[in-house]
Amino acid sequence: MTIDLSRTKKIIEKNKDKKGALIGILQEIQSVYGYVPRESVDLVAREMSVYPVNIYGILTFYAQFYLQPRGRHIIRVCQGTACHVMGGKELLDYLSRKLGIADGQTTKDGLFSLERVACLGCCGMAPVIMINNEFYGGVTIQKLDELVKEYSEKKG
């Protein structure tokens, strides 16, 4: 797969002279490509005169950055305190078994990525999962089965 680097270039141009812009640039790159490609990192390093290792230092420090392409549907399972008490860990274990991937991984067909998140901040609806940008509260194992089926069949 070749990466269209012109979009990275544009992002760098736009932000280059702003103070403390590096994290913002990487966030924008990720929102364009869905992850931060190695080629983009190299370009940012050259243009901003920083070492790639410093950029990777940032990318691996913050939970939000991804160095690999992710699945079409991102399932985030909340592991906050309220969700833990209400069975959030069991949901994550079950999904992991069902999809055959550990958290942080993507299914072979590229359909689902599974992620654990520390807290989605809707503790009153615990246990909570988020698929793409939709929140689902009061989730049970049955509901997970239904949701995975629903999203598997979703086109686009």
């Binding site: 966030q27 940032i58 008490v85 069991e90 807290c119 009153g124 049955q142 089965d145």
Partner: protein, 583 residues
């Protein structure tokens, strides 16, 4: 009385279909030529999770609140309530709704659920931006004096007096100075900042302008979690509107004071709640704390004096300046003034945000607005203050909520997360859970936090697996003390609290894991046999219904049985059983 329809559009409301409900109201009113008569207000969350809450206000029936409203219920509501003038009792909130609100005192949350957060006029007509105007006619030292008089203390966890903190920065002769709003609400179990940002973003902005004027800052940042997309969007809208009105920008209200605000999105690191780490993150670096002093108030962002205040702290400011420091100081206890918003969740009936005066007891909060336990399984403990806090037992429920009293128990006020646990929650597992979190979130800079917490977590894992030893208890105690005393920042200093408090108040649970290899709460999966206890089973079949593999065998009026060959130990049955009948 105006005619209005209020629709709760916080994250929880939206996830339950609030957008469609609002659209349906617009359509149904239009169909009946009533559009001009009723104003539809899309509000933030008012703090109670009842899916979509809808208030209809008119002079004929007053204000009636409906709960769990689905898009398809709207026609019926409009027809009955608005056209025929009859309250639709089946959707109306019950006594528990009234009980949730009656003991609360809403200052920070006053506008949440009442105004449209995307409309600055709504905020202005509720008294918004009056405080800024007033402040600009005072001199900065007077503003600081007023805040000191109010006794306001930082709501993000530390509880440091806000006015005193400002004074440090105001005294430094340097330029520029910065104000930062810490909206990186990372504590698992806390969501008040999110609701304030989503429900009343202008209050936070107004608070920042006041703080900026007081310390002489010309610029500010709102550092908000990227996990809160709705909050960020509403902040962006609010900033744009405020600029247009010249509440932000050059020469605010024609005064000599200019102030500008930017949003910075966090990238997902709990440690960035720590002041120096947050500053590093805004500067575009790894969010690693540095030793203090110098404190950020003297040397902060880009080496300049910087004040970091939490969302809830800032949202209190307009009220304090409008009504006076003495008014605020009249609420609460001797050393903790005003109110505190708590995020109540876990095994209680009413989960949500509850704002009460300082000095209210934990019991009053859980059994008043919280409505008591959610099921027949009895109370075991309450976790206060997130990963830096602790678990408190029943006998401490009458502790008043103020900074000093809570700290004395071994927990901390923290940002106000409060998770209620019943007898089915294992306290050793909770300690393990929090350590898992802090181990993952430790930035790795200092040894006590990076390695010490990891060792503690390994031991707790062993205990929950049934491989614990007697000497592990002493190890946990010693290591906790060492880390508390030697870690670089607040994350490490407080990370042992969940272990220390569970050891102190729930020691017997550690003992039964270690010596009897039993988890009394039937929560630790390696210690569960997955057997139904017939003396406790009420033959209800709930376990049967939730089992995803068909391992639970059950017929009406018979005890359930678990076929261990089919069981995948997912614990669905245990979580569903209201009688704790599976061990």
């Amino acid at each position: 009385m105006e005619r209005k329809v209020l629709i709760c559009m916080g994250t929880s409301g939206v996830s339950a279909g609030a957008r469609q409900v609002a659209e349906n109201f617009e359509r149904e009113l239009e169909k009946r030529n009533l559009s001009g008569k009723y104003q539809i207000v899309r509000t933030g969350d008012r703090g109670l999770f009842r899916d979509v809450l809808v208030d209809i206000i008119n002079p004929e029936l007053g204000r009636i609140t409906y709960q769990y409203i689905k898009p398809e219920n709207v026609v019926e509501l409009v027809e009955s309530h608005i056209v025929e003038g009859k309250v639709l009792e089946k959707y109306r909130t019950k006594d528990d709704y009234k009980r949730f609100f009656e003991k609360q005192k809403r200052i920070v949350m006053a506008n949440c659920g009442e105004i449209d957060p995307e409309n600055i006029e709504d905020y202005i007509s509720s008294g918004g931006y009056k405080a800024v105007k007033k402040v600009l006619s005072m001199n900065p030292a007077e503003v600081i004096e007023e805040v000191k008089k109010s006794g306001l203390r930082g709501r993000g966890g530390g509880g440091f007096p806000t006015g005193t903190k400002w004074e440090f920065a105001a005294r430094v002769n340097a330029s520029p100075k910065y104000i930062i709003c810490n909206a990186d609400e990372g504590d698992p179990g806390a969501f008040m900042d999110r609701s304030v940002l989503e429900g009343d973003p202008h209050a936070v902005i107004e608070g920042m302008i006041i703080a900026g004027y007081a310390i002489g800052a010309s610029e500010g940042y709102i550092y908000c979690r990227a996990e809160y997309p709705l909050a960020i969007r509403r902040l962006e809208i609010a900033l744009k509107q405020a600029r247009k009105k010249n509440f932000l920008g050059e020469k605010i209200f024609g005064s000599g004071f200019s102030f500008e605000l930017k949003i910075k999105q966090g990238a997902g690191a709990f440690v960035c709640g720590e002041e120096t780490a947050l500053i590093a993150s805004i500067e575009g670096k790894r969010g690693m704390p540095v030793a203090r002093p110098p404190f950020p108030a003297v040397k902060g962002l880009w080496g300049k004096p910087t004040i970091i205040n939490n969302v809830e702290t800032l949202a209190n400011l307009p009220h304090i300046l409008n009504k006076g420091g003495d008014w605020f100081a009249s609420i609460g206890t001797e050393k903790s003034k005003g109110t505190k918003v708590f995020a109540l969740a876990g095994k209680v009936k009413n989960t949500g945000l509850i704002e009460v005066p300082m000095g209210t007891t934990i019991r009053e909060l859980i059994y008043g607005p919280g409505g008591g336990m959610a099921s027949s399984i009895p109370f075991k403990g309450v976790q206060i203050g997130g990963p830096s806090g602790g678990c408190l037992p029943e006998k401490l429920l009458d502790t008043p909520i103020d900074y000093e009293s809570i700290t004395q128990t071994g927990a901390i006020m923290g940002s106000g997360g409060m998770i209620v646990m019943d007898q089915s929650t294992c306290m050793v597992d909770i300690a393990r859970f929090f350590l898992e979190f802090t181990v993952a979130e430790s930035c790795g800079k200092c040894v006590p936090c990076r390695i010490g917490l990891k060792r503690m977590h390994e031991i707790l894992e062993k205990i929950t697996r049934g491989a614990g030893k007697e000497e592990h208890i002493n190890f946990l105690g010693d290591m906790s003390e060492t880390i508390k005393n030697t870690a670089l920042c607040g994350l490490g200093n407080t990370a042992p609290n969940p272990v220390l408090t569970t050891l102190k108040y729930f020691r017997e649970e550690y003992d039964s894991h270690i010596s009897e290899k039993e988890c009394p709460s039937h929560a630790c999966v390696d210690l569960i046999k997955f057997e139904v206890m017939e003396d406790k089973c009420k033959k209800c079949g709930k376990c049967f219904k939730v089992c995803p593999t068909g391992a639970v065998e059950w017929k009406v009026k018979e005890y359930a049985k678990i076929n261990k060959d089919k069981c995948i130990k997912c614990k669905a049955c245990i979580n569903a059983c209201p009688f704790m009948a599976i061990k």
